[in-house]
Amino acid sequence: MTIKTVYKRPKLLKERLFHYCPGCGHSVIHKLLCEVIDEMNLKERIVCIPPPGCSVFAYNYLDIDMAESAHGRGAAVATGIKRVSPETIVFTYQGDGDLSAIGTAETIHAANREEKITAIFVNNAVYGMTGGQMAPTTMIGQKTTTSPYGREVNKEGYPLKMSEILSVVEGTVYIERTAVNSPKNIKKTKKAISKAFQVQIDNLGFSMVEILSPCPTNWKMSPIESWHWVDKEMVKEFPLGVIKDRIKVKKC
């Protein structure tokens, strides 16, 4: 009898235990990145810019080149690398505290300059690593360590929708919002990542995938509750789907 392998641990994922909490979306996204980079045969020409945040140690897991950036400055570091080495595929991996708070300016201006880079934006609605403080993406009413009674609009404003904001910036070519909370959404996320990388390979402009990602620890939920919470709450505020696709226009 022949035995066929249906799923194997991705080749580019180092043999090492993730430091992430049980059920964390970061680990799923790392897995997907490894699969996509391997399938697109990019290992030798790709550089990742990991952020401060829970994913600060991404270089321990993905067997590709990395250059750590300061908090929020991913897009600036990526710009530098891409400009001196245009053949390199450069992507930032950023949390919501990183990309949509301290790094808003860098991100918007890199996108507006039509930098040929890709942002993998992991939106878990909190500052994960530092203990679950409120982020710009925190949901209205969501309890965090800095909004113990829930986020209030008249004090802290509304959840910031970075994908929609960036979609009106001229230099962005492809923006999609996905989630990693079900088999179907995980598959869609994988497709979105490869599409975003392809935009860069074709030298078209700035691409971004915003991934809604569960953070069971700081949401104070069990892993499966947090995966459901993405569907129940986050998707209402951050609808999934392709937010901008100018690939065809840019190609002709």
């Binding site: 249906v6 991705p10 235990l17 049980p22 059920g23 964390c24 799923v28 088999p183 598959k187």
Partner: protein, 75 residues
Amino acid sequence: MKAKVKMKGYIEINQESCKGCQICFYFCPKSSISDSGSINSSGYFSACFSDNSECNACGICAIVCPEAAIEVYRE
């Protein structure tokens, strides 16, 4: 852990990388994965595959497993 045979599919769960998040319990359409009841060296109750399951190697458990601890085979 190696589980086996007389079925169309089976999975192998790396007990040491499992963090007991139980996401796979929920998504497995055949309810073939459950708590092993034993603690691994990181202190987590790891998952185990039930031998008499109807696994057809759909691969869903491996897709959702955050730890990449599951490998799926088809006979």
